[in-house]
């Protein structure tokens, strides 16, 4: 079997080449109860930093998405302490000052771009911080749409900003106030509220198990 050597939390292991960091850790005997979730690159739970032999860089990536390489030094970061002040979305205004009032530390950004280099989703993280600072909520929401809240940027930032909480607030403000309402959704919500589907729902609730299975098999699937 083709094997490589990796160092997990400082201890060396021989593991099969081609495994992801997460699988390599499990192969080495770790049982992951934190720092592991979807295994598909979506949940952001598996933030990991590593170095490669002969390379000064500290790389940051998702353990479930990154294949092991020979001589990798790996440490997992199962949790990023990050401050998220409480807020009530309905009471906030979609204005520039809102982000800064809740996250004044945005003003500490020195534009070093370390966050961007750390982001496993390859987002322009620094640009999003700068947009937050100048209060461009829409741009923040767009730039951070694919953020998985792994916290790697936050761990690397010399300005100690809690990026993903800022992003989440910006997307919420954008969704709640700045994005036009989809008319068909509004219409459907009104229909539901008016009880248009109650009859059909009652029918489903009354079905036997076999009738349900048959109905499920016969359902229409969107192409």
């Amino acid at each position: 079997m083709n094997e490589v050597t990796v160092f997990i939390m400082g201890k060396g292991y021989r593991v099969p080449a081609g495994l992801t960091i997460m699988k390599a850790m499990e192969y080495a005997g770790y049982r992951l109860t934190r720092g592991c979730g979807c295994r598909g690159g979506y949940c952001g739970a598996c933030a990991t930093v590593y170095r490669l032999k002969g390379d000064y860089r500290l790389y940051a990536d998702l353990a479930c998405q990154t294949p092991v390489q020979d001589g990798m030094y790996i440490a997992q970061l199962p949790f990023t302490p990050a401050e998220r002040p409480p807020y009530v979305l309905d009471e906030l205004k979609p204005e520039g000052a809102t982000l800064l009032a809740l996250f004044p530390e945005l003003a500490r950004c020195v534009a070093c771009n370390t966050c961007t280099k750390a982001c496993p989703q390859k987002l322009e993280v620094m640009d999003a911080v700068q947009a937050s600072l100048r209060g461009d909520i829409r741009q923040v929401a767009e730039l951070t749409f694919d953020c998985v809240s792994c916290g790697l940027c936050t761990m690397r930032c010399p300005a100690e900003i809690s990026h993903h909480h800022v992003w989440q607030l910006a997307r919420r403000l954008n969704g709640a106030y700045l994005t036009p309402r989809a008319e068909h959704v509004q219409a459907r919500v009104a229909e539901i509220a008016a009880g248009k589907f109650n009859g059909e729902l009652d029918r489903l609730v009354r079905m036997t198990r076999d009738e349900l299975v048959a109905a499920y098999k016969a359902r229409q699937i969107e192409a």
Partner: protein, 286 residues
């Protein structure tokens, strides 16, 4: 049209929008095609005074890299603080060793090669446009409005980066004159408002602001004008009840209005002056 790279800075996109709007209106009429630099970041507002704090220069220098990327040799700022940090950092990295270290650190950017000139609006108006041409483009005069021109710190200090003689500056007064206003002499025009102390020591700033406003009012000012959004904020928002109630506007608002832009703040001011018989926004020089 003369193309000019433009660094706005955070304030111009938020609190000082009126400054940007007025200034850009005026610059277009004065023959400039303003090109906002792409993906700019915060200038840092205050220049680092320490010898070992290289990181604090990264932000300003990154902006200069963007200017270089546009193929431009100079960049315009409206905000006094942006001017200060960008101009001083441009000088800071003239030292080859520092430049090399910053370039090595900013490994996601093209190397900065230096040679970008940072200009402030006031210098541009004086040295390139000229007071006469400016006066010739005035669409409606400020009609003798008594204007206290507040410089604050950054436009004048340190000496090497002063937009004018730090002891006896006159550029803002001359601009105001060209627009038909009457500059008001007041001793506090070059004294600090307290700047960033406004965050933790509001009390100190309030005291400074009261002094500055009294000084301006003592000269008979109808309005105080500044190019610094931090001065504007402090002078307008950090007032004790007993401080004179003179309004504080941006130079860009006055400039824009005189060159025909919409600016309700100025129209109101002219209409509301004691002794004003009718609104003076009827156009034409006196």
């Amino acid at each position: 049209m003369k193309r000019l790279a433009y660094f706005p800075g955070c304030a111009m996109k938020d609190q000082a929008r009126a400054d940007e709007a007025g200034t850009l209106h005026a610059l277009a009429l004065l023959g400039y095609e303003i090109a906002e630099i792409p993906r700019w970041n915060c200038c840092g507002t205050v220049y680092s005074l320490a010898q070992d704090d290289l990181m604090r220069h990264v932000g300003p220098v990154r902006n200069l890299v963007r200017v270089q990327g546009m193929g431009e040799r100079r960049v315009l700022t409206l905000c006094a603080m942006c001017y200060g940090t960008l101009a001083r950092s441009a000088r800071f990295v003239q030292d080859p060793e520092r430049l090399q270290r910053i370039n090595a650190f900013m490994d996601t950017e093209d190397d900065f090669r230096g040679g970008i000139e940072v200009v402030h609006l006031l210098t541009l108006l004086r040295d390139e446009v000229g007071y006469e041409k400016l006066a010739a483009r005035v669409k409606r005069s400020l009609d003798g409005l008594r204007i206290a021109t507040y410089y604050g710190c950054v436009l004048l200090r340190p000496r090497e980066f002063a937009v004018d003689d730090p002891d006896r500056p006159e550029v803002m007064e001359r601009v105001v004159e060209a627009l038909g206003g009457t500059p008001v002499a007041f001793p506090e025009r070059t004294e600090c408002c307290g700047a960033y102390l406004t965050v933790g020591r509001k009390d100190i700033v309030e005291e400074r602001v009261e002094r500055i406003l009294r000084s301006a009012r003592g000269g008979g000012a109808d309005v105080v004008v500044t190019t610094c959004p931090l001065c504007q904020f402090n002078l307008a928002e950090r007032r004790l009840p007993q401080a004179p109630s003179v309004p504080v506007l941006y130079l860009g608002q006055v400039l824009g209005w005189a060159l025909g832009a919409e600016e309700p703040a100025i129209a109101d001011l002219l209409a509301g002056r004691p002794g004003a018989s009718e609104p003076v926004c009827s156009g034409g020089a006196r």
